[in-house]
Point group: C2
């Protein structure tokens, strides 16, 4: 049974302070869309134990799966693993596989306190390994705990994506050189006619020559094509009556 | 009394489907940091009435202020104003000032249904006008309802920023050519010594020549400088002992 809805929980003060532009939820959003899984919420919260526990518990109860990003490194601000263990009410344990892999890579003397910290996962987790790093992510219940560094996050999410979605979403975009207000009513009618197609309208600059886009997305290519025809006929009709 | 904490509520299917990379929360994060207001959470949710109501009510109870972005245009998927009215338990009313401004701009015959839709705000709102658009944002309680189109959002948030924060945050970044795990313990000690400075560590690529950054932020320039000295001395000591 694949996950049909998901939430992303981005953990990191650096995003909330404007230092870092969020990239992982953006990457995941595109991949989940292509996989056919609905990304229903993204929450960006600080490296704060109580915020992680309460937000994670809300999201994992509400959606099929939760993907977290960030806070699994060796420094004091990396508290995601211990906070998620607390959210699940389980212990944080040192995982023997990770300790062994770290020891092989860094040597016994290289297994310092920071690296031991990175070998801890919530009890009962499975590991999410990837080639980009020795320290794996973890999977417990319906929660996938991934790294914050984008190239590692991307590699990890690619490795779990087969668990998400059944039928890929597709998107069609139609350029529009009319102000939205001129076709808003007609577009509402088209949305009502195509309940299985999501119809969005995204304006460009205001002014005498606006150029926006009408965006159609859904899982049925034929219905998308029918909706596109309806939109194009509607726009044609309005343009010629101007 | 200025707002010391804020949350951003981004409303838009286009962000969750990976079509559009989120830009407004990123812009707001940088501006709030500079203003000295802590951005405590960003929530990205779909154009869905129940999601807007429940998320807005949670955020406005939890933080000093909430800034929303998106869903205030003329089309069927623009349901932010009506959902926020419902969240506050007030009526959605047609605002005479906006109707008048639209009539002056578009003429009586130009005031179509879509534009009338854009003249509706929750009862009791004050308007947030800006030069970039005729349709204003709205301010009700501790909630600021702004546009989704970035150049309009930016102009609107700049006009309300004087209400946020007392003392600007500042940031110092220090480049580090050591793996995080080698200085994790010492950095924990520095964080404990400087409770009023937020100490973050952000790794670059893994490998033999890692280049990450230690990031210090806070509201007191002198304390930031002291923390920087401590970090630099710590790094120097570790480097020479390698």
């Amino acid at each position: 049974m694949k996950y049909q809805t998901a939430a992303m929980l981005v953990i990191g003060n650096e995003v909330l302070s404007g230092r870092t532009r969020e990239a992982n939820a953006y990457y995941a959003a595109g991949k989940l869309f292509e996989a056919g899984c609905k990304l229903a919420e993204v929450a960006i919260i600080p490296d704060d134990r109580e915020a992680i526990i309460s937000t994670l518990n809300r999201l994992r109860a509400e959606f099929d799966a939760v993907i977290t990003s960030g806070g699994i490194g060796p420094t004091h601000d990396d508290i995601t693993m211990e906070s998620i263990a607390a959210a699940f009410g389980v212990e944080l344990i040192e995982h023997s596989y990770i300790v062994q892999a770290m020891t092989e890579h860094f040597g016994v003397e290289g297994l310092n306190e920071g690296r031991r910290r990175m070998s801890r996962v919530p009890e009962g987790s499975r590991l999410i390994r990837c080639e980009k790093t020795i320290a794996p992510g973890a999977h417990i219940g319906n929660v996938f705990i991934l790294a914050g560094v984008p190239y590692i996050f991307e590699s990890q999410i690619d490795s779990i994506l087969h668990r998400f979605g059944d039928k890929p979403y597709q998107r069609i975009e139609i350029e529009v050189e009319l102000p939205e207000s001129l076709f808003a009513k007609q577009l509402t009618d088209i949305q009502e006619q195509f309940a299985d197609v999501e119809v969005g309208s995204y304006p460009g600059r205001c002014g005498p020559n606006p150029c926006g886009k009408i965006c159609l997305s859904g899982q049925d290519a034929e219905r998308l094509q029918q909706a596109r025809n309806s939109v194009e006929q509607m726009l044609e009709k309005i343009s010629t009556s101007q």
